[in-house]
Subunit: 287 residues, 4 copies
């Protein structure tokens, strides 16, 4: 028995199991200090294989937003996002891209503070556009223009992605909303410590159906320059809101894709959503 | 501000996030003592929602086998199998079923011992059919006949599932092989401590292409009573072996399904394979 | 040159091209005299391969309804329905079934008379349930009970299928509505010669949203015994109506599947819908 | 009753049924005289909506080849190709493109003459590259370079597309072969009137497996510059040949996509293949 030989075959098998895709894609966690929020904010990053291979290359960028009660690690730890990225880049269905997963809700059991919009004591939207976005696009050689930038997200992050692209249509080529949380009750006398009430008010303030209804022609023209995609499961408790957005977009003549697939408000749905999201935003960014 | 009210809404949102599918499906780990192997063997179990709801119900059973270097937890921890089961049972695409994930390779860094076949010092196939199978089918009110039993697996477990269904066609209604490891070099003078060489010899001994070639009419008739499905990625290093099995099945007139999808030897492929596997084995068991 | 040999190969190639699926499925057109309508009515029939092979076999039945301006030949001539049936039966995804395509609108350029409901001068629903259904189920050894009967259709036929299953929930195991026409304006003073106005009134009378809203508990219990599937394209001009049906079904706690796929009100959508429809109704009929 | 009103609604319904996609895509048949073949040759053309709308626009081009016993009308009359083009262009999954469907086998009951390669009395490949290609690319403002040109086909046309892209890798960005006929027996003493034998010899001469085996490094480098896709059904009688091509491409290190989907040698398979083919060749042409 040639032991070396059997170890050689073992190596091949293990390589097959662990390294079948000879990718050098990287998922890492980084952070920056936010003067606006007064804290250090983490974010997760997906870097495609070619990022290391070609130090001059510049990439399209996708901001991929998590939901309530989660943080920047959710898309990798629960959503296995890197598996879909690796496969679709590997077979050429999408070009290499950088994905930034911000943290809009580091979970804190005593006092949940989260949300993508500005609210009392939490100017997250300001942080996102004036601190996070320029920093990561410079550091990771990505984005830099509307044509090279897209936003997507799930649940609270789905609402965040719609809100961001509605308010900044000049910054995003595409928006893909998964199971989006688009509206909420108001709590007009919410106390400053009632973080959940403040969040709900912020969501209510950014209701995209109302925003579209009030938009003037100049705003609508800008909003129509974004490629929109609404994706929500037929068993999702937020389906009504997503259907309302579609109905209002029809009225406001904002072209969009809508998909209602089988499923509920869960990671099986969102993991699969990436297979639709990534080619869609890639085509929009490639124009 | 009515704090109770906002907490009520928070509860609904959290319920939406965490409990969207009001399933009581359970994934648990169980074990039994094996006289044959001389050790306690773990296995993982998926129980459908109706298992608890109806204490009299009896279920079809699927044995779902892991690959080399993994153990019984791989399908849940890396494969997120319960997410697909929950969804497909939830929408009615498959009936409730019990899934047993055996452990054919508790990883041991000093001396890997694994494999689904009998080999010197490791009579796993005997353990599987005479100890594990009767115990779990009694305990979990499942299986009990060919018409209510199927086997599937990935890589080494794909080869195991084909080997089991070839050797025991009277016991399985269907076999679904994912990225199956079906052949290996021989090491005729392998030392008893060279576990990897022993495993490769066992795989070689159970090469299903050779088995089909030598099979007599009676054996072929039995083998044709199983529903076969071969599923392997176009970038998989084991694709050649799987294609060889298809070619031999054509020669031996053993009807089968073959799919070559985009992908490699990885969990993204196998997770998606479950969406094909579960309806296929369900239809075969339902006949 | 051996001419016979090359002709032999030619034969194989032609066989490959024309007869690759060695099916004996048949699509034929039949008719029966209707006392109710006072005319001879055509219908098209799909018979699975096993219909001829086994003269004792009994089959599940699907009624597949065409849209406005079409007739019973639309599903074969424009929808290529037999291609999907042949494939899904061939690979075992669905059991053999008989499909009846009735004619609710033999096109007549002078005076279009069509529609699945009773209306002045056109008691089509009566014809369907008391003349057509018993005749074809006897003649083609199919259906015979709720558990073996389903209805599906497109556009006007989608509305027809929903209307039939709402009014006769004891007769259908499943209903699959494609791009369904579910509501229309009323024309209360429509003249007897204004066939289109009569049709719109009939559609309005059978609005399933209103029907559900008014339904009592007994009716709702019966309606819930049907498996419902709503399928409508995101660019369809009837999407709003289909979304209204979903919203009302949620309110009335009628479980259903909803899919909004890419597409419009056209045959590419409906041909693909069959790939979802046939497994769905098969599972419902198989229970 | 307002008759005008009901006619207005009828118009809307009919518009919905017939013109749901407000496309101006056109499918037409054109012809050119071939000095090489000594006959007038027909071909079919798909022109995207923007062809008429923008008289200056230039388009990528796809050559889509039919199979034995068919002609240039097969892809529209049996394959409904325009339905898939309209939908994928409509939703932005592919850019507008011109599709040319040549005629390599006008059926003639007395004496079938067909095939994409040069053979005695039938210099079709010469006709294709020196007469057809320059003429249609000038007339329909399309193609003009490797980066804007792709070839695809089914059965005999699948073999033709592989043969063309192997022999002219500098002319095609991508090749998508469906159920390709890649090899045949030889008939060395075939008489000039035995057209089928001549065709089989031509197919045998262009066997891409042998071509790859013999190719030198310069040729392989050129061949690797084409994006290859092999797509063949698991019940296809030509699957073995397609698997052989994959195996040889692995040996020759020619990157490719392979898919084995459910199905046989028929139009259901090829119609669905377009949904994979069109995005694939579009991405390759867009680079």
């Amino acid at each position: 028995m040639n032991t070396k030989r059997s170890f050689g075959i073992l190596a091949m098998l293990l390589a097959g199991l662990f390294c079948a895709l000879p990718t050098q894609a990287a998922v890492l966690r980084d952070s920056l200090h936010s003067d606006i929020l007064g804290v250090n904010k983490y974010y997760s990053v997906y870097l495609p294989p070619s990022f290391k291979q070609d130090a001059q290359a510049h990439f399209p960028i996708l901001y991929l937003l998590h939901g309530l009660t989660d943080n920047d690690r959710a898309w990798t730890e629960k959503g296995q996002m890197e598996r879909v990225l690796d496969e679709l880049i590997g077979c050429g269905e999408i070009p290499p891209m950088v994905v930034i997963m911000p943290n809009a809700g580091e979970r804190d059991t005593r006092n949940i503070q989260s949300g993508y919009f500005n609210m009392p004591g939490w100017r997250y939207e300001d942080f996102f556009f004036t601190e996070l976005l320029p920093a990561v696009e410079a550091k990771y050689r990505a984005g830099g223009s509307k044509e090279q930038r897209a936003v997507a997200g799930l649940s609270m992050g789905g609402g965040g992605s719609v809100g961001y692209a509605m308010a900044h249509p000049d910054l995003f080529a595409a928006c893909y909303a998964m199971s989006a949380w688009l509206d909420s009750e108001r709590h007009d006398n919410a106390e400053p410590t009632d973080k959940m009430a403040l969040l709900m008010n912020a969501v209510n303030d950014h209701n995209p159906m109302k925003l579209l209804e009030k938009a003037d022609d100049r705003q609508l023209t800008a909003i129509r320059s974004v490629r929109w995609y609404i994706d929500c499961g037929d068993d999702d408790f937020l389906l009504e809101q997503n259907v309302q957005l579609m109905l209002q977009m029809r009225k406001s003549k904002v072209a969009h894709q809508l998909r209602v697939r089988d499923g509920s408000h869960n990671w099986e749905y969102w993991h699969n959503a990436l297979r639709l999201c990534l080619p869609f935003v890639s085509r929009a960014m490639g124009r």
